[in-house]
């Protein structure tokens, strides 16, 4: 694993006068499995949006030595950066195999594109194995269970050899078994990639995080290993009065205005 990982410096995002991300610095090393936690409205998703080019931001975001800010979404993606969303977005009308094949093929030339797919590309087969979806490959993605959709999404990042994965609440709404399996999956894939996970589920975080950043009101409140962060008095203060494990919100999209 080469490169310098993800470096964020003084990242700022403003919506109509409201500052959602307010000067965040982050250093995530290659091979890390970093969890971003924080209360609703802390700016976690907006941070990921900024990194992936979805919202305009000030400051600097570098990955593998390349500046990301100012690039359109698909160009950021071509640098090996992939993300998932809170609600799994897979192509519901295409099969699992087709989903993965499309994900694998961003660099294909026009002639390949105009031909019918023959067989299963090697990286797709590997991703099917890794995510355990081999038996379901001819099912339309729309009929998959919730957890399977999340794995498919992760698989779609794996096929194109993504070096940085940004996952937004990957285990929200999953059963206990599914969470465990997802955790194992994340651990496995983070070995040779950088993985950033936004999460509310503290148990899940404690079980699988290698390092943690706590965001609060658009700023980094605390950073370190799970134990370090848990011991931080400011973190306890922010979470005081709240359940330490807030349920995944019923309305995932609108909670952080």
């Amino acid at each position: 694993m080469s490169g310098e990982g993800l470096t964020v410096r003084d990242l700022r995002v403003t919506f109509d006068g409201f500052t959602a991300v307010d000067g965040v610095d982050l250093d995530i090393l290659p091979g890390d499995l970093r969890f971003l936690i924080g209360p609703n409205g802390a700016g976690k998703t907006t941070l990921v949006d900024a990194v992936t080019g979805l919202v305009r931001a000030g400051g600097s975001v570098r990955f593998g030595g390349e500046e990301l800010l100012g690039r359109p979404v698909h160009r950021v993606a071509r640098l090996g950066i992939g993300r998932t969303f809170q609600t799994a977005t897979v192509f519901e009308e295409l099969t699992v195999l087709q989903n993965l094949d499309i994900a694998a093929g961003a660099g294909r030339g026009p002639l390949t594109m105009l031909r019918r797919r023959k067989g299963v590309p090697e990286e797709v087969a590997r991703a099917l194995e890794t995510t355990g979806l081999t038996d379901l490959r001819d099912r339309p993605a729309g009929v998959l269970a919730h957890g399977q959709k999340q794995w498919l999404e992760i698989g779609m990042l794996l096929v194109k050899d993504v070096r940085l994965l940004l996952l937004d609440e990957p285990v929200a709404g999953m059963s206990h078994d599914e969470r465990e399996a997802t955790g194992e999956l994340l651990r496995r894939i983070s070995g040779d990639r950088t993985v950033v996970v936004i999460e509310h589920d503290m148990d899940f975080m404690r079980s699988f995080a290698r390092s943690v950043s706590v965001l609060h009101a658009g700023k980094v409140l605390s950073e370190g290993s799970v134990t370090e962060v848990q011991a931080d008095a400011r973190v306890q203060e922010v979470y005081l009065g709240r359940a330490s494990e807030p349920e995944p919100a019923a309305v995932p999209v609108a909670e952080e205005a």
């Binding site: 919506f15 109509d16 907006t46 979805l54 019923a250 309305v251 609108a254």
Partner: protein
């Protein structure tokens, strides 16, 4: 100088017509995202309401004043019915709504043809509204002043309803977050229908006003529908003031171009200008900037 002033008034009066026909759409399209191609036929329904009323009530002025609320109710009821029968099943498929309501519009036109006959019908306008006043060499036509006043009144009423009433709050709540509104105990279905009722009702009011300036016939709605949508699209669907500004701007642009070139050229230039404008601001004049809802 008089020419400029006269043309300015003309532009403003064209703008007032555009505003009036588009106002209902700022609710149904702007707030709810429904592309209702039958909007033009609700305008037609308002115009025919005026016609029917004049057959039974004597006195052009009285019948016109009665026609305004009545047309609002008639067109509004048609809109609410349409929402209940078809549109509520299609909220997740906006493009299909466009085609379905186009089909409805075809049927309503044919219905008008069967009921009222294919030829245009006439209404009598009160004398006050067929005359004009002259202020410093500028001719201010009565019907145009009436339409301008009516348009501004409707904008004011709509703003007040949206801002101040509980209904307005509910409409905004449903628009901003349907699920959240639902769990907060708002009957979203009923709010949708009410919104649609008001939006369609405004089309009916526009129809009454249009009897003063244009033909009343089965195809009158199709004359206005594309223009009405363009006003809302260019204005930006999020805010009423976008549509207001756009309507008057397009009106003035159209009248200035018409004066200096020909009507055809003016129309083509305006349409092309709109396409170019949307390149520059794809979301229209006014947008709500929010976090991406990806």
């Amino acid at each position: 100088m008089t020419v400029v002033l006269n043309q300015s008034f003309t532009g403003i009066s064209i703008g007032a017509v555009l505003l009036l026909i588009a106002l209902g759409l700022t609710l149904t399209f702007g707030q709810m995202g429904v592309i209702n191609m039958a909007h033009g036929e609700f305008i037609m329904a308002g115009a025919y309401t005026t016609y029917v009323l004049q057959q039974s009530v004597s006195g052009a002025g009285v019948s016109l004043l009665v026609a305004l609320p009545l047309a609002f109710l008639v067109a509004g009821a048609m809109g609410a019915l349409l929402e209940w029968l078809l549109i509520r099943r299609l909220y997740t498929r906006p493009l299909d709504t466009l085609l379905v309501t186009w089909g409805v519009s075809l049927m309503l036109q044919q219905l008008a043809r069967d009921v009222f006959g294919a030829p245009n019908v006439q209404t009598t306008a009160p004398d006050l509204l067929t005359g004009h006043i002259t202020v410093g060499g500028v001719t201010l036509a009565g019907n145009r002043l009436f339409i301008l006043g009516l348009a501004l009144l409707c904008v004011l009423a709509l703003t007040l309803i949206l801002r101040l009433t509980p209904l307005g709050r509910r409409i905004r709540a449903v628009v901003q977050n349907r699920d959240l509104a639902e769990v907060s105990g708002i009957a979203t279905g009923r709010v949708d229908r009410t919104t649609f009722f008001i939006g369609s009702g405004l089309a009916g009011v526009a129809g009454v006003a249009l009897t003063l300036v244009g033909p009343i016939g089965p195809t009158m709605g199709t004359n206005y529908i594309v223009d009405a949508f363009l006003v809302v699209v260019v204005g930006g669907i999020a805010q009423l003031k976008g549509s207001v500004i756009t309507a008057f701007a397009l009106g003035v642009l159209q009248s200035v171009l018409e004066y200096s070139t020909t009507v055809s050229v003016a129309k083509v230039v305006v349409l092309v200008a709109i396409v170019v404008f949307l390149q520059w601001r794809p979301q229209g004049l006014y947008t709500l900037r929010t976090r991406s809802l990806a």
